[in-house]
């Protein structure tokens, strides 16, 4: 499965014309065609694609993701030590933590807020509250993220100086205590996380709302009501549990998304995350980095689907029994 995915990605990547030697910076009369040809030979780019794939696969078997072309041979995945004991950090190693952090906070917020909003609008179906929630989440979904980001940056950063505008740390953050450094990071993350969260709200809350409506119309809820249970207990213990079951699948499927950042958000907020890394490496035709990210992505997709299935079986006895049969 993985070999198939990687083979297809490798060929698609090479379908795009150009390679590392055709970047805009190398379109310079001082750089001769011979030296570019030499570079191509160094990187084996002059060989047929299938042989290049073979070479790549040979390295991958040893879990060696190789070195980036564009950034002076930095390792793609994980740090390496040179003879003098200098540690060269991997590109993915440096970009991944911040992207993971943003996405984890983002997903956590999306799910908690969506569950609340979805439940409220299901319970008060067709009321003005329901309508305004739906209106709000759709507006949030439809607003172009970069535009809102710039407005918020201007308002909170330039006019009022409440929040930092861009970057991950204050310039003097090294003088802060550890807690101070962490708070500083959180402060820098407020805007990027909110922006990347807003567009996600719509889908999940509608899921919860519709799931909830379905459940609320089922017989066992009517039974519960006729038993005289409190409305609160009915909604939170009986209905909600059933309504959020499908979310497990969604969480599982969003695992691969955890490592992908948004290029636009990352560029605007000057966050060196995975989205920017991937985008830049595509523009530079930095093949080892592209393949590295794609491989990790496909492994995570496969894992995510598996985890979703297992999680679903764990949470829902009906499916577990089906499996046993």
């Amino acid at each position: 499965m993985l070999i198939g995915i990687s083979l297809i990605s490798f060929f698609i990547m090479h379908l795009a014309p150009g390679d590392i030697t055709s970047s805009e910076a190398s379109f310079n009369p001082k750089a001769s065609e011979e030296s570019r040809q030499k570079l191509r030979e160094f990187y084996n780019l002059d060989k047929p694609v299938i042989i290049q794939y073979g070479l790549w696969l040979k390295r991958m078997v040893k879990l060696d993701f190789g070195n980036s072309f564009a950034s002076h041979q930095r390792p793609v995945l994980w740090e390496k030590k040179d003879n003098n004991g200098n540690v060269i950090k991997g590109l993915i190693q440096e970009s991944l933590p911040i992207t993971l952090l943003i996405n984890l906070i983002g997903i956590f917020l999306i799910f908690s807020i969506s569950i609340i909003l979805g439940t409220i609008s299901a319970v008060k179906q067709n009321s003005i509250v329901d309508r305004s929630i739906t209106f709000f989440i759709f507006v949030a979904f439809a607003i172009p993220g970069f535009w809102l980001a710039l407005l918020l940056m201007y308002w909170t950063g330039v006019l009022n100086q409440w929040l930092p505008i861009s970057g991950l740390h204050s310039l003097d953050y090294k003088n802060f205590s550890e807690i101070g450094q962490f708070l500083d990071l959180l402060k820098h993350l407020i805007l990027p996380v909110s922006i990347s969260m807003l567009s996600g709200l719509a889908g999940i809350s509608l899921y919860v709302r519709n799931g909830m409506l379905d459940v609320l119309h089922q017989d066992f809820i009517t039974t519960a009501r006729s038993k005289g249970l409190e409305e609160k207990t009915i909604i939170f213990t009986h209905a909600l549990k059933n309504a959020i079951l499908p979310l497990i699948t969604i969480i599982g499927l969003s695992i691969p998304g955890l490592i992908g950042g948004s290029v636009i958000t990352e560029s605007i907020f000057a966050i060196p995350g995975m989205g920017k890394l991937f985008y830049d490496s595509v523009l530079m035709r930095d093949f080892p980095v592209i393949m590295g990210i794609l491989t990790i992505g496909s492994v995570l997709t496969l894992l995510g689907t598996l985890i979703a299935d297992i999680g679903y079986a764990w949470a829902d006895p009906r499916i577990r029994k089906g499996l046993v049969k």
Partner: protein
Amino acid sequence: MKQIFLLILLLIFLISCSNNNSEVIDYKDNNLSNGGVLINAMSAEPSNLISMIAGDSASSAIASKIFNSLIRYDENLNFTSDIAESWKISKNQKTITFKIKKGLEWSDGVPLTSADVYFTWKLITNPNTRTPYGADYTLVSEAKIPDEHTFIVTYDQNYAPALDTWASLEILPKHILENEDINSTFFSRKPIGSNYYKLGDWISGQQVNLIKSDNGVLGAPHIDKLTSRIIPDTSSQFLELSAGNIDLMNINPIQFKRVFPAKPKLKRRTELYKEMGNGYTYLGFNLNKKPFDDKRVRQAINYAINKEEVIKGVLLGLGEPISSPYKPGTRWNNPSLKPYAYSPKKALSLLKEAGYKMSGNNFLVKEGKALEFEIITNQNKQREMTAVLIQRRLKEIGIKVSIRVIEWASFVNRFIKTGNFDVVVLGWSLSLDPDQYNIWHSSQQGPGQFNFVGYHNEKVDLLLEKGRRELDLDKREKIYHEFSKHLLEDSPIVYLYAGYGLTAVNKRIKGIKMPAPPAGIYHNSYNWYIPKSLRRNEFTDK
């Protein structure tokens, strides 16, 4: 409903209580003192601080503050001393002797001598070094270091751009790199240099900090620390500048002409600088294709394009028309040449001469074929806008033009390299050395070479060859003035404009020359300073 109402009220409250702490800073303080921090923004992260390998502009911007060359350009773009205190060209113009200053040190205290220079030359000419710039240096047939302070290079044939090549080669320390693989060494992220700054720390993707070096070749700078923040988005850079978090950024014509004047508060604390840029934009014909092999057609199109209009429309007037591939105001620029004036009448008469007739539906036709072509360009807003303006002007005289915008790598590989294009809108740099052999000599037309428009003129070939061999500046000047004249007359490309480089700098930074000299505002950045009263307080202690 109530909640929403409350929410709106809260929002209004929040907006209205924006604090108006308009601290009045007096920017008149001009007292020179050492210290302070300058924070600037750059759009891309340097890939590598060894500039012979890196090649991107972000890298060279940082590396040039850490390393020195043998010689450098002064503010009027003449050569001046850097590591070498003097240089002498032999009578037969084949040997250059550099005298290296005495008592120079690398920032780690090790002496800098001719051995380092020789080592660097060896390195860049080594076939295993992955540099695109080696070709110029392999022309040296012999390099000698008779003593610690002398470096002598001899060329087989005299090579006029030699001095320029030595001004762009940054000298690397032998004692560190001797046993390293230059292609993967950690030195590229932790360099030891000889210039007025040294690398403090480099936080990947976020910032590069340079701190002043007291034993630099050009002495110590006034400003203690240079922080370059990596902010890819220019709007974000602009917001940071407005908030006073950064001191310096490159801006675009719209920001220069429209945004800054509309913000008096920001304008009060920012100085805007304008300098001749380093490149020009042109419309290039594929001379191997009909009808562009006909000089009259090329000239007609040149006459039909209104360059003033393009400069006004695309650059908001922040650019100049040019008539040779050299910076206006430098000696290589031939002042007697004038750009083709806008004249649709002349264009039409030239086209009639070339055999075109106006057809019934207002298009020019020759032998049953309409005069139509496609302009291609890469994803660059200014070039796209330029193409649109040209399209309109050409339509007026009956030429049908379509426009296609292509991503860079595809653009180069599928169209430029294969010669599969009609007309391009592209840019070339206004190089400091007048040698344009690689771009205009008829031998440079192979795939991947730079005469991709296919220009061939024997007179020009001869001039270009002569110009490369002539080290006498006055004679050289005459050669290139002649070359520019032929180039303009033949019109293989239409010079559109040379845009200004625009920079916004916080007024706390003093010592910047205004108006900018030909070399631009950065050339004296070691003389910039920040008066004590204007420094950011959070950085002054420590």
